[in-house]
């Protein structure tokens, strides 16, 4: 405990981070009658503020000046491809875009809202069952989550109802009920809202994918297809496909966010207090080191204060959670040389490449229209939906048209087909042709965890608060590149069925390292994973620290390896799952929930 830190009045629960996970945990803890303080590093945010129409739909401010994203001048990460290199700070937003401010990534996200496939939750077991233990490549840390789809199903369902998710079910209670994803598991209920309408490109993709023999379905989207009132009584407007989802606060109140879907109720709750502009420095522990006593943070005025609490719930973004654990000495840091320790282990990314299909010049693809979570996908090559035996790689990739609204600057940036000049009239013609007549198809693949890909504290670089930056050691691996190339190759057939005039298949290249300069995705995962073995997981299956029982850590940091799906639906379900066990067991009997 810092001597100069001011001590505040103790509360029951302190929640670190004001995004989806934090808002869900705070809501659940106030429902359980506990006093909750939620600390958010960034400013408070609202639809009437950041989302006020028409100022909100400013592409330059939203997607190029990163209005809703982390202030990298205060804190960032360092990155290197392998342990032989010296990591350097990530000073300009590019490859991934961590958020900042109340709502967190849940305010600037797109809205794609998936449930984790059952096989992905027990991927190690499933791969061994199907292909034998030898199938797992050397150096790949393949693991199970320690929780099953059946256990999580009620919490997936709850999250969808809170988010107002639009989609079409395939099976409800074991019965086929609709045209949803044939590979998806049975649900206890339908989606709360019908699927969004297909934009034209998604419509063409759906038709072509079915012709080729794949199984297209509507992406589940937390962009409301109709107006909606969630179980907390809050209301959403309907999505109008304006395309300002990712990077923006939705002015229609139609993209689910903590700000729209949970915080209106929380902010009115007498047991809840939100403190914005408060940067948490560390979790404090008692003399035994086995119990957290609260957190120390720098407040809006720059004063260092300590907030004592009975429980600390870390709900910051994936890598901030990992860093806070490392800075606080919670859990054993990962040592890649000895292959020991767990905090920083199994850091994963997502393996996304984009292909472009040019249609007949008479076909206007209207790419400016879109909804962040809308579109059409097929899962024929995702998860364990296909036989990996002869292919020799682990993992898979859904394929989709997720036209989220290509705006003017982005359209100009992408230019024309590969080989088109980068300036002049040929560039202009190629850019206009591409914007008007093309569509984009993503392979949104999984990234497996490897022994030499990890997070630790940087030995050199510090943030504005004098604390070491988190260091990422990351590169693409042969297994993942082969998976990507196999799935992207299938896109060629779909493009042909669409009547493509030209196709660019975006594939990962062997030997080409991870390039931080190009946006890929903000779906980072792992680093403090959940599991059933304290030797290979930092958290037990209830998201509780194995070492400090009154610390729970909620986020994509818990994913033992990557997945083809977007992470938010899983993070929200894990939050409700953890909250359920805290409420039903932990509060009455504080202590380890798993032994």
């Amino acid at each position: 405990m810092s001597d100069d830190a001011r001590r505040l009045k103790p509360v029951d629960v302190v929640v670190v981070g004001g995004g989806w996970a934090g808002s869900i945990m705070a809501k659940e803890m106030t429902e359980a009658g506990r006093t909750v303080v939620m600390l958010e590093r960034g400013p408070d945010r609202s639809t009437a503020g950041e989302g006020a129409y028409p100022a909100s739909i400013d592409e330059l401010e939203g997607n190029f000046r990163y209005k809703l994203f982390q202030d990298l001048s205060k804190s960032t990460v360092t990155i290197r491809n392998n342990a032989s290199q010296t990591a350097l700070p990530y000073r300009r937003m590019a490859a991934f875009l961590p958020g900042e401010g109340v709502g967190g990534a849940g305010l600037h996200w797109s809205g794609v809202h998936f449930r984790m496939p059952p096989d992905d939750l027990r991927l190690r077991s499933r791969v061994i069952e199907k292909y034998g233990a030898k199938f797992i490549p050397e150096g790949m840390n393949l693991q199970d989550y320690g929780v099953t789809y059946e256990e999580l199903e009620p919490f997936f369902d709850k999250a969808e109802k809170v988010f107002g998710t639009s989609g079409e079910a395939y099976k409800v209670n074991g019965q086929v009920v609709g045209q949803g994803n044939v590979f998806s598991p049975s649900r206890s209920d339908h989606f709360p809202l019908p699927p969004l309408k297909d934009v034209y490109t998604a419509h063409l993709f759906r038709k072509a994918a079915a012709e080729v023999g794949f199984h297209p379905y509507s992406l589940p989207a937390a962009n409301a297809s109709q107006q909606y009132t969630n179980p907390y009584g809050v209301q959403m407007g309907p999505c109008n496909f304006c395309g300002y989802c990712s990077g923006y606060a939705c002015y229609m109140y139609s993209k689910a966010s903590p700000n729209v879907n949970i915080l209106p109720v929380l902010r009115r709750h007498p047991l809840f207090e939100l403190r914005a502009n408060c940067h948490v420095l560390r979790v404090e522990r008692d003399s035994t080191g086995k119990r957290a006593t609260g957190v120390t943070y720098t407040d809006a005025e720059g004063k260092v204060v300590t907030q004592p609490a009975e429980m600390v719930i870390l709900t910051a973004f994936q890598f901030h959670n990992v860093r806070l654990m490392l800075l606080s000495g919670i859990g054993k840091p990962y040592d890649p040389v000895r292959n020991e320790g767990v905090v920083g282990r199994n850091f994963v990314y997502q393996n996304v490449t984009t292909s472009v299909v040019w249609l007949d010049p008479k076909v206007e693809t209207n790419q400016y229209i879109g909804a962040g979570g809308g579109g059409v996908a097929f899962d024929d090559f995702n998860s364990e939906n296909f036989d990996h035996g002869p292919l020799g790689f682990v993992g898979g990739s859904p394929v989709w048209v997720n036209q989220a609204g290509v705006k003017a600057i982005a359209g100009a940036h992408s230019g024309g087909p590969p080989g088109t000049p980068r300036w002049g009239s040929a560039w202009k013609a190629g850019m206009i042709d591409t914007y008007r007549h093309s569509l984009r198809i993503d392979a949104h693949g999984a990234n497996m965890a490897y022994r030499d890909v990890y997070l630790d504290l940087d030995p050199t670089w510090k943030d504005a608060y004098g604390q070491p930056l988190l260091r990422m050691t990351f590169d693409w691996k042969d297994n993942d590149i082969r998976m990507n190339r196999y799935v992207v190759d299938k896109i060629g057939n779909v493009a042909k069925a669409m009547g493509a005039r030209n196709v660019h298949l975006g594939m990962r290249e062997f030997g080409k390292p991870f390039d931080t300069r190009q946006y890929q995705t903000t779906h980072l995962g792992g680093g403090a994973v959940m599991g059933t073995d304290p030797q290979t997981s930092a958290l037990n299956r209830y998201m509780q620290s194995w070492d400090v029982h009154n610390v729970f850590v909620i986020g994509a940091n818990a994913f033992p390896q990557g997945t083809g799906y977007n992470p938010t639906g899983m993070v929200a379900a894990l939050a409700y799952w953890a909250a359920y066990h805290i409420r039903t067991t932990y509060l009455a009997h504080p202590g380890p929930l798993a032994g």
Partner: protein
């Protein structure tokens, strides 16, 4: 309701209750703590009478006053009515308190500015006022900060013209109560509704037209069809008729619609704005479901002022069909599509109860277009209530549209979908634009 006195007769159009008892020494009100139950009941009466709308500033201590009213005759400040002996009403005996509420007579005998709706409060029962007194003396935290009244210009800085007005126009409470007792109602629910609406709710203060001498032309349903037939504009807001007109009143609202509106500020045919926002926020949302129903049932007994055979509103799809065919040739259609249709839709039906419909909305069809113009200019915030935790903010267009563009847009909305209300001109917009208070839009925006 606040701001009532802005329009109408200017010499008298400046008013606020000044209950502060500066420099007056008297024995403190008896302070034996009454039962908590009585205080709780009094709190409910204070909500039903919407005391906080004027006497509590947003974010300020309850009933400590201070809310500013910018009037042509100067600036008035809502007084402190906390039980502080010097700054508030702590020295009022119960009899003095009741006289002030019902008759508008201050403890020292001076007349209160008649924005204090004592002509309505005259109807309040002894029982309610006893509870209200208990609440203000024992349920409200005293605040020692006085509210200084120094913003009024002569002659309204003097009290005697108010006394003349009061003697001419304010009802005698004894007669009022007697009259109310003598009235018969179809059922006790309607009787309760009549009491709430005509008495503590003082709905007529805004929704009943006033004479040139500023008194309401009717104080009860007994006084004829002008009662609650729509009031003069207040701060650019035009209080609509609460009678049974099909197009411009509550003719197409069901009892349950009204209940829902009082509880949440939103129902399928419309959403709250203007002064009604405060009335719901401080008042009606806190009422019991029974009292909300009583108000609804009573309002539904008020006959329309329009002839029974007058055609009702019926949806006309012509404008919708034109817009959907890409025809924006109608006056204002292009502005409507560009700036309004995302939420209110090309069919004008909106997304009730999130974004209100414009088709068939009484506010849109009102003979006076002031409210519609003002909403387009400065936007509006539908506040969260206990039962409806989501607020919705419509942006204002004052900075983006000139007077002609606003007039075109408003004229389109008033003409389309069977609304058939008269067009408006740029001069109407200019008049409303000039009247916008510097306090708008509100400094505190909702955080969802």
């Amino acid at each position: 309701m606040r701001g009532v006195w802005k329009s109408g007769l200017r010499p008298l159009a400046a008013a606020l209750l000044v209950l502060s008892a500066f420099g007056i020494q008297a024995a403190r009100a008896q302070d034996a703590a009454p039962q908590a139950e009585l205080v709780t009941r009094g709190e409910y009466v204070a909500e039903a009478a919407d005391c906080a709308a004027c006497h509590t500033v947003p974010g300020g201590a309850p009933f400590a006053g201070g809310m500013a009213f910018h009037l042509p005759t100067g600036t008035l400040y809502a007084p402190n009515i906390t039980p502080d002996a010097n700054a508030g009403i702590g020295q009022y005996s119960e009899a003095e308190f009741i006289r002030a509420i019902r008759q508008g007579i201050r403890r020292d005998g001076a007349t209160l500015y008649p924005a204090m709706p004592y002509p309505s409060y005259a109807r309040m029962t002894d029982e309610d006022l006893h509870a209200l007194y208990a609440y203000f003396m024992h349920g409200v935290r005293p605040v020692s900060t006085p509210v200084v009244q120094d913003g009024m210009h002569w002659p309204l800085s003097m009290r005697w013209p108010l006394t003349v007005w009061r003697r001419l126009f304010a009802p005698d409470p004894a007669v009022t109560l007697q009259g109310a007792t003598a009235r018969t109602f179809p059922d006790p629910v309607v009787a309760r509704g009549a009491y709430l609406v005509e008495g503590p709710g003082h709905c007529g203060a805004c929704h009943t037209p006033r004479a040139v001498t500023m008194q309401e032309k009717a104080l009860t349903a007994e006084d004829g069809p002008l009662y609650l037939s729509g009031g003069g504009s207040v701060d650019g807001w035009r209080p609509v008729s609460l009678r049974g007109e099909n197009r411009t009143g509550l003719g197409r609202w069901s009892e349950q619609d009204i209940v829902r509106f009082l509880a949440t500020g939103r129902m399928p045919l419309g959403a709250a704005f203007g002064g009604m926002t405060d009335a719901i926020n401080h008042g009606t949302q806190h009422m019991t479901a029974d009292d909300q129903l009583a108000i609804a049932r009573y309002l539904k007994t008020l006959s329309p002022t329009t002839p029974a055979q007058a055609p009702g509103w019926a949806y006309d799809p012509a404008a919708t069909n034109a817009l959907r065919a890409g025809d924006v040739s109608a006056r204002g259609a292009r502005h409507y599509v560009d700036s309004c249709a995302a939420c209110h839709r090309t069919d004008g039906r909106g997304y009730p109860t999130t974004f209100p419909p414009l088709a068939g909305n009484p506010v849109v069809m009102d003979p006076t277009p002031d409210s519609l113009i003002r909403i387009v200019l400065e936007g509006n915030t539908l506040r969260a209530t206990k039962q409806a935790p989501s607020a919705f903010v419509m942006p204002g267009f004052a900075a983006r549209m000139d007077d002609a563009a606003v007039a075109d847009t408003v004229s389109f909305i008033r003409a389309a979908w069977g609304n058939d209300a008269p067009a408006v001109g740029a001069a109407d917009v200019a008049r409303i634009r000039r009247s916008l208070s510097p306090e708008h839009p509100p400094a505190s925006l909702p955080m969802n």
